[in-house]
């Protein structure tokens, strides 16, 4: 798959194979899913107290769901406009590739949908951090293995879309020892606004 920016600033995902397009369609669907595991993953509980969490869900739950649906719709519309690149679609299905245009104004909706879909899959298949790092351990569970691969596709695309905005991961992310340094003061992270 090739990613490039056109003269308008929009991103073009080119040579995207069929399975990537399918995965992207599913990303939009996952963020709207009413699967209880997915719902509780996407509508998080911010408090330790369950009564406060209930009230929170009552107050903000619908707002969040509408937002997720709206973003999914944006992604779905962009995918609906994807252009078929291969002219041999009917002869060699394996060669089918697509060009997807991500308008610059839709970039955030795409990023948030991809991140939300990863969380949804993680919750739905009860994955762990180890599963995502060592997918081969999941060979005995094809559904989980597929979910991990799908999360990887979302992760790669999310990185690409973030880099397009200048948010690449740092090459050297340091180590835990950095936090023992007297230069690092976690309290600096607190502000009064």
């Amino acid at each position: 798959m090739i990613v490039r920016r056109d003269e308008t600033g929009d991103l073009l995902l080119q040579s995207a194979p069929d399975f990537v397009l399918d995965a992207l369609q599913q990303a939009a669907d996952l963020c709207e899913s009413d699967d209880p595991a997915i719902r509780s993953s996407l509508i998080q509980d911010p408090y330790e107290d369950e009564k406060e969490n209930e009230q929170w869900r009552r107050l903000v739950g619908d707002d969040l769901l509408h937002l997720f649906e709206s973003r999914s719709e944006i992604v779905r519309t962009d995918l609906g406009a994807a252009a078929l690149e291969s002219s041999k679609a009917e002869e060699a299905l394996d060669d089918v590739t697509w060009e997807v245009r991500v308008p610059i104004q839709h970039l955030s909706a795409w990023q948030e949908t991809l991140n939300g879909a990863s969380h949804a899959l993680f919750a739905k298949y009860e994955l762990t951090g180890e599963d995502t790092e060592n997918a081969l351990a999941l060979v005995a569970s094809p559904e989980k293995l597929l979910a991990v691969q799908q999360i990887r596709i979302y992760s790669i695309l999310l990185h690409v879309l973030l880099e397009a905005e200048g948010y690449g991961d740092p090459d050297d992310i340091g180590g835990p020892e950095d936090f023992d340094s007297p230069d690092f003061d976690p309290s600096e992270s607190e502000s009064d606004e």
Partner: protein, 115 residues
């Protein structure tokens, strides 16, 4: 019939006596102490998770809180290495707004009452 009780209602007997009503013994002073309780600040905490890219965390923190790049990176690394970071503290209502915005972006985040 307790006329005073009828006029003032049943709470009359529990209403604290005003300083002027009190029968003070000569040479006794009444001190009134007013205490103002300051609301404890609330913390907005971002948690690490195995799937959200660090660059995404970085972007959201920059956009939402307007932190400098160096502060933003330190917070992001703190989340990554220690599992969590306090990204904001202050009034509860504002903290709730911040957490809701983070939840909109699917960033794992919670609220804690400061001690």
């Amino acid at each position: 019939m307790d006329l005073k009780r009828l006029i003032n209602g049943p709470w009359a007997s529990v209403r604290p006596a005003l300083a002027s009503e009190e029968s003070e013994s000569p040479g006794t002073e009444t001190l009134e102490v007013t205490k103002t309780k300051v609301a404890k600040p609330w913390k907005v905490i971002v948690h690490d998770d195995p799937i959200t890219p660090m660059s995404y965390v970085s972007k959201i923190l920059q956009e939402q809180f307007g932190y400098s790049q160096s502060k933003d990176e330190r917070l992001m690394l703190q989340v990554h290495h220690t599992g969590r970071a306090v990204v904001w503290t202050g009034a509860r209502e504002t903290a709730e707004v911040h957490v809701q915005k983070l939840h909109r972006k699917h960033l794992r985040s919670t609220l804690e009452s400061g001690e």
